[in-house]
Every structure is written in structure tokens, then in C-alpha cells.
Symmetry: C2
């Protein structure tokens, strides 16, 4: 079968495993749209794989790449049975597929939208990029519904999303602590916290180094959004779990398909279970990212067969919630000489 | 702290581990409602644990159980800081928290609702109980959006939900095969399939026995809804994975909190990863169950401190989607002398 042949030709070009189902998804995306960034978005496959598949299909005259990306007549006939994605049309338009309503946060959302106007722009150096205010408040509403916010001690590991400010505005948590490497964000959060009386505690911190003792076993809930490398999962999620109170707690983080194959997803899931935590929720594309401005400098742009920057939001991540079981154990070793931000599946760095 | 003390007193009464977070959730539910079935529903804790916690709180004069279940003044003061659940109010009312819209299935939903009027009633013998038609079509829409239905070979392991009929009506799959133990359901599905020309293939099958060779490595997508025991996870999900084509596929199943602690959730997640599959989605309370009629005969009713049958739907399950990775391996050994339906966390059996 054709897909099996394609798989064999591709296997040696990429150093992570994937299946014909990955190829199918990319082809179904090609049946759905002609825009490169949307193909990546809809297919839910790592961008470097998408780029390789497109090259191969072009070589086989199943695809034509010019000002856009289109299956040839031969391609269309070959792949007609796979159909197109209905996702675009059936995602709930009220909650945007996030399961919860943020109506009651309307006022705070407006206030936040106003406050964040002067936020520091994302820096490629730290693989930054922030989620939309709607995604942010949906995450807050979701965590509140799970009983993870009210009168709780909250830790945020890396906060380019400015979650601390949004959480502070809700007045729900008992206290909020932020660990952040970027002094621009530290200044912005501290200044805003003082101005609006949000009492957010901010520490400068490089998370490749272990958490200081005072932060261990102190929090009820942590939030983080690691880069999609194993080192970053250790540094952000592993330390997050280390920060939880001995009698347990919960953690939230995003994981994208754009820069993480399902093989990497499974590695992360192994890591979570090894810590004796359990995954309670994975909500598809809960977090939409605002296009971050350094598109032309990233590997994704080099890999794209067409050199146009994305017109719409295309980068999304799924929301994970995890919870600890008795005798859980986080990860708090130093990470020496690890690149937190890059591996063969990354592309926005 | 009080919760730690409660935990110590409870640990020896139940043979599965849990944390103070479990107790918190039950107390937050008590801050939210006075109805036993709603307390179980909102807390997302196994019913036997909820029942034990209520007994203990009553003993400590923190709770009063009469015609309903209420925190005493002392209880209210003690637990005020935990707050109440906002879930009830913030669940998206358009999609009921299921992430997708089923508007375009309106006609088929009506047709299905009509067809299923004469369905066999659920049997306690097989731990049956079926999801609402809305949940059923939402699952279909979701699976279609993932590219798992169109022109695919579908296997359904156990079909008291009548998913095969609903799927048949959509005309999306290439073929649909059902394995079912209950001859009443086999008759109903076969007759309906013939009447509406749905070409569903139905086999009588006890899933404690291995799948026959012809069914191995043949399907693209499987659906199942196991009882919440490890043996049933093996029999239903493990065999489902065995049925998938060698180049991979996906599987869907529900998992409830009502009869499965997070400890059992983690055991299931270990099992999935051991097969070299990965969890791609877990959507909270995606499936609502219709109250099944044998409420008074189930263990849950014995455990309930108030002998009223549930007035509203209270039994829900979260929707899991899994996908296989290269070199996955299902489970297809015989299960001798295993009770598929009962363990210490079950209560609707």
C-alpha cells in the first residue's frame, strides 16, 4: 500500500518514530486546506515531519507547491477515500472546544487585556510565546472547577503568559509565586502586582538548576508550559511536582503536537507515571498562541516550503492536568549541559 | 491538620490509596449540594470512599444525615475555606463540556432516538448501562474530527450503547463489527441493521476469551466501555489494541471516577503505555449515562446513607482516546477465573 511505501522512504529522514496514521493525518489536512501553517495545525504532526512529507509527495507528483500547496489530480484521486477534517466545523463555537464557559470572567478579561498591552514581546532566546487571554481565563476557570485554586498556594514555573497577573485579579488563590528567568517579565509582573495590589511573589530563576529547599513540598497547585524537550519536561514539570505538598496536589501544563510527536508524548506520559502522578485530563488544543513576531527567525520558517509568515493563529497546545498519588516523587536534579529548548522535533526555536 | 487526621482514620477502611485531595473534593462537594448522588457526581471520587467519608464526618459531628446530607454548623465553619464547586455553573452549555458541536447530526440523532425506543434494558449481570444519545453522537463527531471513521474498519467490543447503529446511520465507516455477549443485544442490532441496511457484522463473544485470529490486526479504530476492573481493562482495551492493524490505529473508551480511584486510573495508564500506545485525549465527563433501572439492586444503593434512587443522571465517564506507536502490542491472553465486573471500588454491580 502506498502509505506503507511512503513511510519506508521517510523513516530514515527523521529521528523519531511515527506511523502511517501520521501520514494519513497530513494527507487529510491536505484534503482540507492549501495553507502550510494550517496543514501543520490541522494534521497535529510535528512540523519537521509535515515538511518532509510535503517534499516527498511533490517528488512523487502527488502534490504541487507554488504560491500555495495543492494535491495534483493524481494526488486527489489517490487520497480521496481519506476524506477531509471536519474538526474546523464542529469545534464548539461557544467554548472554542475548551469545555468551559468564561462568561463570568468577562470583566476581568477586559481588565487583563488592558493591563497586558505593554507586556514584553516574546524572545526566541527563551522559546517564549504566549497564549490568548481567552485561553488563559479558560484555564483559570477550569482549574477553579477542579478545586485547585481557592485559598491554595500556587506556583508558576515560567510566566510569559502572565498567568500570575490574571490569577491575582481573580483573588481566588491564597498566594501566588512565580519563578522566571527573564528580567523583563520579572519587572513587568512585579510592577503590575504592586500597582494592582496582587501580592505576587516573583523570583528570578533558571530552571535548569534545582529548586531551592524553601520551595519544595510547599504548594497545592503548579502551572507551567515547558518547551517540548525531555530536558524541559524534567526542569519544568518535574520541579513542579517537587514543589507540591507532601499530601499531594495537582499540576497544569500545555503540550503541543506542533513540536512533539506522539512518541515524545508517550515519553512524557512515562515520566509522569514514574513520578507516581496520574493524568486526569488532556483537552485538545485548549491553548491558542498569539503569533509571536519572530516567525522569520525560527527553524519552522526555514522548513516551510513557502516563505510566508502565518496569517492566523496556528500554534496550539493541549491542556494536561495531572494529580499526585501517595508517595509521589518529583524531579529536582541539576540539568547540566542540556539544551532545554531544542531537539529534532522542535521548530519554533 | 484535620484532613491528615481524617486520612489516617480512613486509610485502613479501604483497600485502594487516596490522598487528602480526595477528601477535599468530597468536602467541596458537600459545600455544593445535599444530595448523595450529586456528592458522588461532583466529587469525582469512588462511591465507596464517599460513603466512608460521610460516615466518619457524621461521627465527628461535622455532618448530619437525615432526609438529606448537610454539614453541621461546626462542619461549615471548619471547611468554609475550601469553597464550593463552580463546575456546575461553568460547564459549556452548548456542548455540555464535550468540546464539539453535534448540530449537524440533529436528523440522525432523532432517527436514532426513535430506533432505540425498544432497546433491551440494561442487565446488572453484564454491568450494563448506556450513555445518552447526545453523548453517543458527540463521540462519533469527535472520532470523525480525529480522522478515525471515514472509510475505516471499526470494531466495537461490547455494544449496550448501540454505537454500531448510530455509526451505521452516519454511513461514514467502511465496515462495522460488533463483539457482544448478550443475545438480546445481538438480536436487536442484527434486526435493526437488516431493517435499515446498515451492514453491521455481529458476533457473540465472551471477552474473557481471546479474540479469534481473523479479528487480529484487522481494524483501524476500536470502541469499548469496560467495567472499571483491571481484568476488564485487559479484556476490552487490551483486546481492542490487539485488533488494530499492524501499522497502527486508535481506540476510544470511557473511564469513570465513580468506580475508579486515581490509583486505578494510573494502573490503566501504565497498561496503555506498556502496550506502546499513547493517550491523546481525556475529556472530562464526556459521557452521561441514563439511569439504568436496577439501582436498588446495586452495591451503591447499599452503601448510600440515604435510600433514595437517583433523580438525575449522576453517572458519567471521561472519554479516552489512545493511539498506537510503532511495534505496539495488545493483550490477547485468556482471563481464567477473573471477575470482570467487581472489585473493591465498584458499586453499580
Amino acid at each position: 500500500m502506498l502509505l506503507d511505501e511512503l513511510l519506508k522512504e521517510l523513516e530514515f529522514k527523521l529521528d523519531f518514530p511515527f506511523t502511517t496514521k501520521s501520514l494519513e493525518r497530513i494527507i487529510i489536512a491536505l484534503n482540507t486546506t492549501n495553507d502550510f501553517w494550517e496543514i501543520v495545525d490541522y494534521s497535529d504532526e510535528p512540523l519537521p515531519l509535515v515538511a518532509e512529507v510535503l517534499k516527498l509527495l511533490e517528488k512523487k507528483e502527488l502534490l504541487k507547491i507554488s504560491s500555495n500547496i495543492k494535491l495534483t489530480k493524481k494526488g486527489k484521486n489517490t487520497f480521496a477515500a481519506l476524506g477531509s477534517f471536519s474538526w474546523k466545523n464542529i469545534k464548539c463555537q461557544t467554548c472554542q472546544g475548551r469545555t468551559i464557559s468564561i462568561r463570568h470572567y468577562k470583566k476581568l478579561l477586559d481588565k487583563f487585556a488592558d493591563i497586558q498591552k505593554d507586556r514584553p514581546s516574546p524572545k526566541i532566546e527563551y522559546d517564549q510565546g504566549y497564549i490568548t487571554p481567552e485561553s488563559l481565563f479558560a484555564k483559570i476557570a477550569f482549574a477553579d472547577a477542579k478545586g485547585d485554586l481557592r485559598n491554595k498556594n500556587i506556583l508558576i514555573l515560567g510566566d510569559d503568559d502572565l498567568l500570575s497577573i490574571a490569577l491575582g485579579l481573580t483573588k481566588l488563590p491564597f498566594n501566588i509565586t512565580v519563578l522566571e528567568i527573564d528580567s523583563r517579565l520579572i519587572d513587568f509582573i512585579s510592577t503590575t502586582s504592586a500597582k494592582y495590589n496582587l501580592s505576587i511573589e516573583v523570583h528570578q530563576k533558571d530552571l535548569s538548576e534545582p529548586l531551592q529547599k524553601e520551595l519544595l513540598n510547599r504548594f497545592d497547585t503548579f502551572f507551567t508550559d515547558p518547551s517540548e524537550t525531555i530536558a524541559a519536561f524534567n526542569a519544568f514539570i518535574g520541579r513542579g511536582v517537587s514543589s507540591l505538598k507532601k499530601n499531594g496536589g495537582s499540576g497544569y501544563f500545555g503540550l503541543t503536537h506542533r513540536e512533539a510527536s506522539l512518541y515524545k508524548w508517550s515519553k512524557l506520559q512515562h515520566f509522569i507515571l514514574e513520578m507516581n502522578a496520574v493524568i486526569t485530563d488532556i483537552i485538545y488544543n485548549f491553548q491558542d498562541y498569539v503569533n509571536w513576531g519572530y516567525e522569520k527567525d525560527m527553524r519552522a520558517f526555514q522548513l516551510s516550503p513557502i516563505k510566508t509568515i502565518p496569517q492566523n493563529n496556528w500554534y496550539r497546545s493541549c491542556l494536561y492536568r495531572i494529580e499526585t498519588l501517595p508517595r509521589f516523587k518529583g524531579f529536582n536534579l541539576p540539568l547540566l549541559n542540556h539544551d532545554l529548548f531544542n531537539d529534532s522535533e522542535s521548530s519554533t526555536t
